[in-house]
Symmetry: C5
């Protein structure tokens, strides 16, 4: 509380960064980075302040894929400035709570380092359910695969895989950044926060582990799906072949005796029976052949 200011800027434009440039002595490159969408998570340490870029996963419903949502943070002795695009609900909610409720302010606005921990913790906690949701989706798709549902499953599997790839790319650089963050902002924290930050890093590692598992599972499911298709195609072709190889010779025999020429025994009353017997012999030979090949 004592002089700690939290400035929260949603959807920052050059006007906001100009204002920051005037009031605080931030490096121009950092201010540029707040506006650019093509950043990597990183920590830039200066004497007076630390500039942190964090990325959190955000599921984009249009693209059906996880995209990184950037939070740029300037942390100084008595201020914390967050710039983001307002899509991360936990952060928006936390700020509103602090605006409205005296008690929230008392709980969170202790030191700038403590506040940063609480914000990061909230946003990391927010990731866990998303990760477990992916795991659940995988299990649902697995059931669909075993029920051989078809084309829809392939596309769903593909979209899930794509999402896991993108999600992993968001978390990957965050692990290094969060692992070294505690040390870099130590000077802005009153109490010893090491255990807390360690716990937070554990959570991120857990997310990473889960995503790694998801990746292996999704690749395994893809293989299973392909194998099942292979098996199914093989089955169908086998039936086709059995039917064709029985029917075609019989039809040939019938066709031969359908020719409009002088056929041996064509006015004999027993001919029909003889031909039927020939046909059954053909069927028998074919079935014996298929049994030998273990097709029926």
């Amino acid at each position: 509380m004592d002089g700690l200011t939290w400035v929260n800027i949603e959807k920052p434009t050059s006007r906001e960064t100009d204002w920051l440039a005037e009031n605080y002595h931030f490096h121009p490159l950092d201010l540029d980075d707040c506006l650019s969408r093509r950043q990597r998570p990183k920590i830039d340490e200066y004497e007076e302040y630390v500039f942190v870029v964090l990325h959190f996963p955000l599921f984009s419903w249009e693209a059906r894929v996880t995209v990184p949502s950037q939070v740029s943070i300037f942390i100084g002795k008595d201020y914390l400035i967050t710039l983001h695009d307002g899509m991360l609900k936990p952060l928006v909610k936390l700020f509103r709570d602090c605006q409205l409720h005296e008690e929230a302010r008392r709980a969170f606005l202790k030191t700038s380092g403590f506040l940063l921990y609480r914000i990061t913790d909230r946003l990391v906690d927010y990731c866990l359910p998303i990760t477990y949701k992916i795991m659940e989706n995988l299990e649902r798709v697995e059931d669909e695969i075993f029920a051989t549902k078809g084309r829809g499953t392939v596309i769903e599997l593909s979209i899930l895989r794509r999402d896991i790839i993108s999600y992993r790319r968001v978390i990957w650089p965050m692990r290094a950044v969060l692992g070294s963050l505690e040390q870099k902002i130590e000077k802005f924290t009153a109490e010893d926060m090491e255990v807390f930050w360690g716990d937070l890093v554990d959570h991120v590692d857990k997310i990473w582990d889960t995503l790694d598992e998801c990746k292996e599972i999704v690749e395994g499911l893809k293989d299973t799906n392909d194998s099942l298709y292979s098996h199914r195609t093989n089955e169908v072709i086998r039936i086709l072949t059995v039917i064709s190889t029985i029917m075609l010779p019989l039809t040939l025999v019938a066709s031969i005796y359908g020719m409009n020429i002088n056929l041996p025994g064509d006015d004999n009353d027993l001919s029909f029976l003889v031909i039927l017997i020939i046909m059954f012999v053909v069927i028998g030979i074919m079935l014996a052949f298929f049994r030998h090949r273990r097709w029926v």
Copy 2:
């Protein structure tokens, strides 16, 4: 014995952790971790005690997959507190033995460090047969694949692969934790336990090696299965093609002479023979073609 207390809490709830918070000065984050199911194996070292989270593989019969079963351990000078969900039979049995038998107490309750070793050793030893069971399953599936049993094999292979993936994910973080555990709890052990812990780490490494081998084998088996399907489909289609390409032209010839129009030689007694000869020539050409392509 001398003052060493083993507190074993099955299925801990907030009531139990509240009790712990009152009687011991544990970090609140650690107590939270005991209740959370979304932890990673880890060691948190404090001056008075060490908090250890261990995960052991447990085969879930409903999900047909290995899931981590968590054991949270607080170890201090004269106490060892274990919290778990009661699913790990060796741990439950060990505690009951200590409750019932004087001699078990004398054997295990020496120092808190020694007790922790015995518990961990039991639980790790418990994993080895599970691992070898997977290996056996792989060998059984391999036999099934070579006997081309079909769809069931694909699904079984998929479930096995899924299980190996999950199992590996349980063991992976345990290796790092168990590798550094001895050093961290040294102060709670009277004798030198290095050789024992080293032996235990060797066992975990052995499990990891075996799982690695299982992973490679299961991928190899999947490939073999797919190749065999491919080969089988190819075989079946070849037979289909051979039969069709022989029968279809013959049927055509017969059909032509079945037309109700004036055919050349339709009242000649030799026509039937001539047509049969034509048919055999067609068969001969076809077979020569197949031999040339090495299909028959």
Copy 3:
């Protein structure tokens, strides 16, 4: 400005390197490297100067693949010599600007180290849009795959993959070189450029991350495409089998009654009806069989 010379040599030949050898005391191996096209990015540090070979990705329209475009740089206290093949537009443009405009010269020609940073920065920035273009292409191909467009998609996917492989090979060695460049040319820079170079390395890392993601996505798309083909083939064969297995037995029945021999009931007026009924029974049995197999 003060004595800083920027010598820019496009499409260097041995005549140019001979001229350099006369006027500057460069190591003959370095001069050879300027002419050779088979270099790796590298930094050779000497007392008087630093020799840097940088590679930037250039999309070759004929080969439809990204190829490395080499820039060889000699940097000394008061000179910067760049040798390249004139294909990198930003570099060509930057030099022309410096030739024509006094203000450009004032902005860029401060120290040799600063000039090198500006050149490298321009060329790295030039890569970002290329990278994002690849990402867009991947998304377009993904849409095409889901719409099962066919052969063209396979080839496009293959060309994209090839391009990503080559692009990665250009960026990979650049990361190490750019990461250590700042330190090596420090002596030729007046101000502290660490933040700037760090920012540039971040951009290269970002490109690398994106390419890594692209690589995983392109492999995933290939798998999806193959699975969709598998599924489609399976579908088509199933239809073929359903039609054949219904039509072939019916044709057989008709053929049998087309034989020119004495058939049972061949002058009975109800025969036609009886045969039709037999045919419908056959169709019914077949459909029941297919329903049982869940094919229709």
Copy 4:
């Protein structure tokens, strides 16, 4: 010689280890490890002795796979104790030579460290021909694949791959153990053996390299085999399609003129010729279509 004792125990049981426990002061865990079959290669260093567990590959003819064969070794100042299951012929032969021939004893029984080197060297040398045998098998299978021999090749490839996986798993942990063995047993060696052990480690590395190459080759061969099947299936289906699409329309034409109704021109002598011409036109159109698609 001077007091050096080599105790060789084949198929050790608890009786033998009890005897060892009585006569030497070995750690009980080590004696347990001699009997257990589920060990990893390792070195346990004690003040008085060093306990080494080595694994060597042994091809099991029943399982058609390489399995690890364990040699447990206690090495002290004046003794070397080897425990194994008697399956490793070079070791058995070496011991018998030492038993029977004075000159062999003189050559090998110098110091315990030297003896250990000679034993290990023999056993490693024994692995090389096995490794090259695998390479030869791969080359034979490659020839079979190019000759498209069929189902047998798939199974052979699968067994080879399985064997390479298991073999690698035996060698992998051995590299680390053998690499550090020399240092640990230095005190039991009179002369400087560094060059000799280095040579031995080189041989193991060579085996590892070869196995790595084998692994890549076997995966490549599997891919080639699958591609060839794919190609073959494609070929066969193409032929089937060409024949069917030519024969089916012709048969239809013939069938239409086989109907027992009033057909246009059914008593015209030229009808047969006209129909044949129609048929050839159909064949022509079909062939043109196939040529257009590049199928024939």
Copy 5:
């Protein structure tokens, strides 16, 4: 020159190594290594001399695969002894030049370290065109794949892949050896050769990078080839299905009216027209079905 002797032994046998053993005090293991064909590249450092085993890739025309060609080198203060099998043309040519031409001797025979550099440099340079040849072959195969040439392409791809695997295995251990060679033979060199050896290592790294790229490309091409086959098979089957599903029902209708029983309207002149109309309706329905499925 001053006392520097270059002994070049082609196809060494035990006679040559015996001669070396007599005249120089080389370690017997090293002399063994010169004769053995199962070595790894390595450097053995002794006080008096350094023993180097280098492997260079050599394309074997019979096996159509790259094999390692070994050069064993003893380097001392005033001598350099090379032993090889005479297959590496640049080395043979270099030695012959030194034998015949005074000027070559003056250029190369400066110090033993310098001579070793020149030999190694020649042999490494010799590798570059081989590597680029592989790249060109890949591009040729890529064109063939896009032109769907068939079986030959699969085999060529397989052989290329095999060659890349073997080539990589030759270069892989060479990187480590060449990287540390300069330091080990420093004492036998007068001038500072660091830049030169660095350049040489760069070339080997370049070869490695290119081979890595080749490996990824060849795997990509294999995938593309398989996808194209998949697509092609799908196409062919689709055509087959379209033709069959149109022709079979029509043939059935014709066959029914070809039965030798009393058919409804079999003496009606309009029957033929009615049946043709039925047939066209069937064709129409089928085509509508195919359009619905987007098959035509």
